[in-house]
């Protein structure tokens, strides 16, 4: 989101080409992003508001929003914590097989989502390697909302690692050393020196992981069990409508998903802008 404000401030600088780049940005964004999205809006406009409201507030659909957005936020949160840890060990330590681990992180990106779904289901079903151990403890993963969460954590992992990694690499060790010399404890260093520098990247990673999770269909559909009111995700509700040739109904639900995702991403992005501004203005000394 920072494109516009950045470009405007740059107009007064020596860098030329503001008109050209802004024009290109707008045309490109319109073509790639806005055009398909406006098709969704126009298709939905053929519904009256009452019809629209009835479709998007049907109990099953509402249950699916809760699952889709709830599980996606939770999965993005889990990925933020553990993705940051992963990035930390990949950047700060040298160990045999580091390159291998580094490459493994990207695997969820490359794997066809259906493969991920089938593999996870085979693993966590009652007769799978992990399912066999977990079910006697009363923990059912496959075919429950927990399974949805597991799949979303899997597919969202690379986002946080890959956004945090370069920032960590650029973070100078001297800063931490200086903090130690000035008498800071380890926890203080993490809290006052490292975290403020990482927060914008963490938020970006969170936003990306969340956005990916909300739209995810392929992997989740295998492990969810798809029981109405319990484990149906919103994309499944859309597919269900499409199967019945109810294209407007499908776009109505899609529009709600889009709107909610957009608002959440906007909030996350402004949080990120705010934290970047405050950490740079206070020199990373905010508490």
């Amino acid at each position: 989101m920072p494109t516009l404000s950045h470009l405007i401030t740059r107009r007064h600088q020596v860098l030329p080409g503001f008109g050209l780049t802004l024009g290109f940005t707008l045309v490109y964004l319109s073509l790639i992003v806005l055009l398909p999205l406006s098709a969704v809006v126009f298709k939905t406009l053929s519904l009256s508001f009452a019809q629209f409201w009835e479709i998007v507030t049907a109990p099953r659909v509402v249950a699916s929003y809760k699952l889709s957005f709830g599980a996606s936020l939770l999965a993005a949160g889990i990925n933020t914590v553990f993705g940051a840890l992963l990035a930390w060990s990949l950047v700060r330590y040298r160990f045999p097989g580091r390159k291998l681990v580094d490459a493994l992180v990207d695997l969820p990106f490359a794997l066809p989502t259906a493969v991920a779904g089938i593999a996870l289901t085979a693993l966590y079903a009652g007769n799978g390697w992990l399912g066999k151990l977990l079910e006697p403890l009363g923990i059912k993963v496959a075919f429950t909302p927990l399974g949805v969460l597991v799949a979303l954590v899997f597919i969202g992992l690379p986002f946080v690692v890959r956004t945090v990694q370069p920032i960590l690499e650029d973070l100078e060790l001297e800063l931490e050393e200086a903090a130690t010399c000035l008498g800071a404890h380890r926890w203080q260093i993490i809290r006052l020196v490292i975290l403020p520098a990482l927060t914008p990247a963490l938020l970006t990673g969170f936003a990306l992981a969340f956005a990916r999770a909300v739209g995810e269909y392929g992997s989740v559909i295998f492990i969810a069990g798809n029981l109405p009111m319990v484990s149906e995700i919103t994309p499944l509700m859309i597919i269900t409508k499409l199967e019945q040739y109810d294209y407007t109904g499908a776009t109505a639900i899609a529009l709600v998903m889009l709107a909610v995702s957009f608002i959440l991403l906007l909030v996350i992005n402004s949080l990120q802008g705010w934290s970047a501004a405050s950490s740079s203005s206070t020199g990373g000394r905010k508490s």
Binding site: I55, P59, A125, I239, L242, Q244
Partner: protein, 337 residues
């Protein structure tokens, strides 16, 4: 998701564009847009038709296949996938092409024998070896505590037939002429049955995987061709097929897409499906052939079973779609617990 689907369709189509042989005779390419499970069947039928066509007319014909969920495929044809023939597993997926854009003639069912369905299958039960739960008929599926695996009727034709088979069985149980009571009983019956369903997979194959690979459920309710394949070939003798007292006839309808310039070859292709040669291939793939002679030849594979159709017992697909499967319909009401 949508993009993935289009890509998939596009790539399947491209992949199958086989090089045509250079001859002086005319060359035709047909695209057969079909549902998921028919992939293997048409892989066997297509070369048979090509050699038949070559012998008859001297022309070469190449048939490309595109497969996917039945309704998705119909949607792709509406959106512009250039199909010459469509071969589906339920007639609503062809009727929609009549309604939207008039891609198929309204009288498509009358243009070919047997209501334009060259083969049928029916809904049966697959149980674990030796039938430990003693499941014999639809009534057993509503037993409390039993786990029944059924694909999602909202997204799968297979699941829809299962639901309708159970409904039709319940109506019969009450007896004809007792419509009001029949509806009430059927509703309770199907509610109890679906309360026993622990997982609703998107399609028939998904349900099969859940039952056979994940070991979930006491009984899988699915098409005879799928059950036979599992019991005899890929299941390794771990499963038995159970035939209920009555079930639903699931006919697989076919039609020519009229707007294309390949009518002659396309029509011949569909007519070929009813020939003894093609009917024999169909029977080998565990689908019930229409040709009585072929059916007789494979009688051990296809035990006789009483069936009813959506048209004769449930008032036709249109009515069924509206009362049962539309949003807020009976299926939605019974499944929301």
């Amino acid at each position: 998701m949508l993009n993935n689907r289009l890509l998939l369709i596009a790539s399947t189509t491209l992949m199958l564009a086989a090089p045509a042989t250079r001859t002086s005779a005319a060359e035709t390419t047909l695209l057969n847009v079909s549902y998921d499970v028919s992939r293997e069947l048409y892989k066997d039928i297509n070369p048979a038709f090509a050699s038949y066509w070559k012998a008859k007319t001297g022309d070469s014909v190449t048939i490309n296949q595109s497969h996917g969920g039945s309704s998705k495929q119909a949607g792709a044809v509406i959106a512009g996938l250039e199909a010459d023939v469509i071969t589906m597993n339920q007639s609503p997926d062809i009727d929609i092409l009549v309604e939207r854009g008039g891609l198929v003639a309204a009288d498509w069912k009358k243009r070919l024998p047997y209501n334009a369905a060259p083969y049928t299958t029916t809904t049966v039960f697959l149980v674990r070896k030796g039938n430990p739960q003693g499941i014999k008929d639809w009534g057993d599926l509503t037993r409390p505590g039993l786990q029944v695996i059924v694909p999602n009727p909202k997204t799968s034709g297979n699941g829809r037939y299962t639901y309708l088979a159970a409904w039709g069985y319940a109506l019969q149980k009450v007896g004809a002429g007792n419509t009001a009571n029949g509806e009430k009983f059927a509703r309770e019956f199907v509610t109890k049955l679906f309360a026993n369903v622990p997982v609703l997979d998107g399609g028939g194959r998904g349900a099969t995987t859940t039952f056979t690979q994940r070991g979930i459920g006491d009984v899988l309710v699915t098409f005879e061709n799928e059950a036979a394949l599992l019991a005899e070939e890929v299941g390794g003798g771990q499963f038995d097929v159970i035939y209920p007292s009555v079930s639903i006839e699931a006919a697989a309808p076919v039609a020519v897409v009229d707007k294309r310039g390949t009518r002659k070859a396309a029509t011949a292709y569909l007519e070929f499906l009813f020939s003894p040669a093609a009917q024999d291939i169909i029977a080998k793939h565990h689908f019930r052939p229409r040709d009585p002679a072929v059916l007789k030849k494979y009688v051990s594979q296809f035990p006789p079973i009483k069936t009813f159709t959506v048209e004769d017992r449930l008032g036709g697909w249109k009515a069924v779609q509206q009362t049962h499967f539309a949003d807020g319909g009976i299926y939605d009401q019974i499944i929301v617990r």
